[in-house]
Symmetry: C2
Subunit: 270 residues, 2 copies
Amino acid sequence: MSVDAAPVDAVPVDTERAFKLTLAYDGTDFSGWQIQPNKPTIQGMLERALVKLTRQRVHVTGSGRTDAGVHALAQVASLRTPNWRASAADLVNAMNVNLPPTIVVIDAVDAPHDFHAIRDAIGKRYRYQLQIGGLRDVIDYRYRWHVHHAINIDAVSEAAKRFVGKHDFASFQAIGSPRKSTVRNVTACEVIREPAVDHRGELVSIEIEADGFLYNMVRNIAGTLIEVGRGKYPPQHIDEVIAAKDRDAAGPTAPPQALFLKRVDYRPFP
Amino acid sequence: MSVDAAPVDAVPVDTERAFKLTLAYDGTDFSGWQIQPNKPTIQGMLERALVKLTRQRVHVTGSGRTDAGVHALAQVASLRTPNWRASAADLVNAMNVNLPPTIVVIDAVDAPHDFHAIRDAIGKRYRYQLQIGGLRDVIDYRYRWHVHHAINIDAVSEAAKRFVGKHDFASFQAIGSPRKSTVRNVTACEVIREPAVDHRGELVSIEIEADGFLYNMVRNIAGTLIEVGRGKYPPQHIDEVIAAKDRDAAGPTAPPQALFLKRVDYRPFP
């Protein structure tokens, strides 16, 4: 038999398929992304659904490990399995019937075999939601940091701009979780005023986009911006905090329930 | 001592003050409004807060008893107590620190001594939230009826109009909960298309306003409207269902988690 007989698109019988998943979750009732024994986690729920669907252990890699209580509007994950023969769209439906209502797969596409959700990510955008003053909302309180002090939103906006650019963000990295490099390129840091709602004071979100984030970086930036908003420091203080490269120079870590991973960017597949 | 010596605005020493409270709640984790032993209820939580604040048992009367799982944007309640000497605004704050985060007092005002939240209500507005098709939302699924069939929204709108007017709504009253009269005046029944959100199909709300509602009336109307939207009946069918005065003529009871008590109307205090 000549080698020419093999069809051009022949693949090994037990070849793995790679998928890129986009998913949303309400992090309220989860102990974060990363799988842990006897605790509900996003990764654990996804892998449990995949065991049912593929009859094998499938490892799911998220673009980043969101903390307990943190939500995602569009987290991205990669996985490989030889045992899914239906379409990627069918995988979306099959996973969603096997996931709790607080996790949903929004999209699945076939990906190059070496696609890796962490390594291949070129940018991310987070959203941090605040309520300033007003009465608590009986639903939305789970998804915002309710600040009871007066906040100068213009000062926060002014301070936010100072994060934009390529800086060493060592001051905004959680202690005890060092990375090789603490330099990141922040491409946007915006303060967005949301439409007013009765009895709810001011609703504001901070959105931050960068080529990558250090552990707790968004929550540490949010906590520092609120100190500026309270008048503890002027907006220019941000430059000094960045220059200090010292966690103690920045403000407190803002609470997790207000943080949403909004988007993860990748280059288009070849 | 002459009776003239008493000042004109004199009140008995231990007189009761009456309050009108406006409150919002997320009904998800409550067994409805009405107090029940060993179950979390809205009335139970309010009365527990009032015991702490007034050192006495205070009965709270809601404008209506919302069912388990039903929410309120602005429920109204009346109460009387001789033991609150601070302002009504202080009562708002004091109650809110003693309530779970899923219940909030939005407003409290001093009311005439005989103010009664049920008897004095002259109208109510409910909102019933639907999602038609699309993927479930990991947060909002708790607050909508997700319908997976194709729905003709124009037909639903057309059918909704037929509820407006003074009718006998016996067909839409839950079996086993008869009222003296089943005639109600529906002043609005509107189908509102909400802004589109990615992956979420169509978001639609039905808002119904009337001088009063029978038990399960809104959920039975919503269930019947969806049968029209699915094409099971034409919009004119609503007239026949109303005329039948028979619960079996109407559609199924729509689920509770999508229902919000939006407003309760009263005449201004004299």
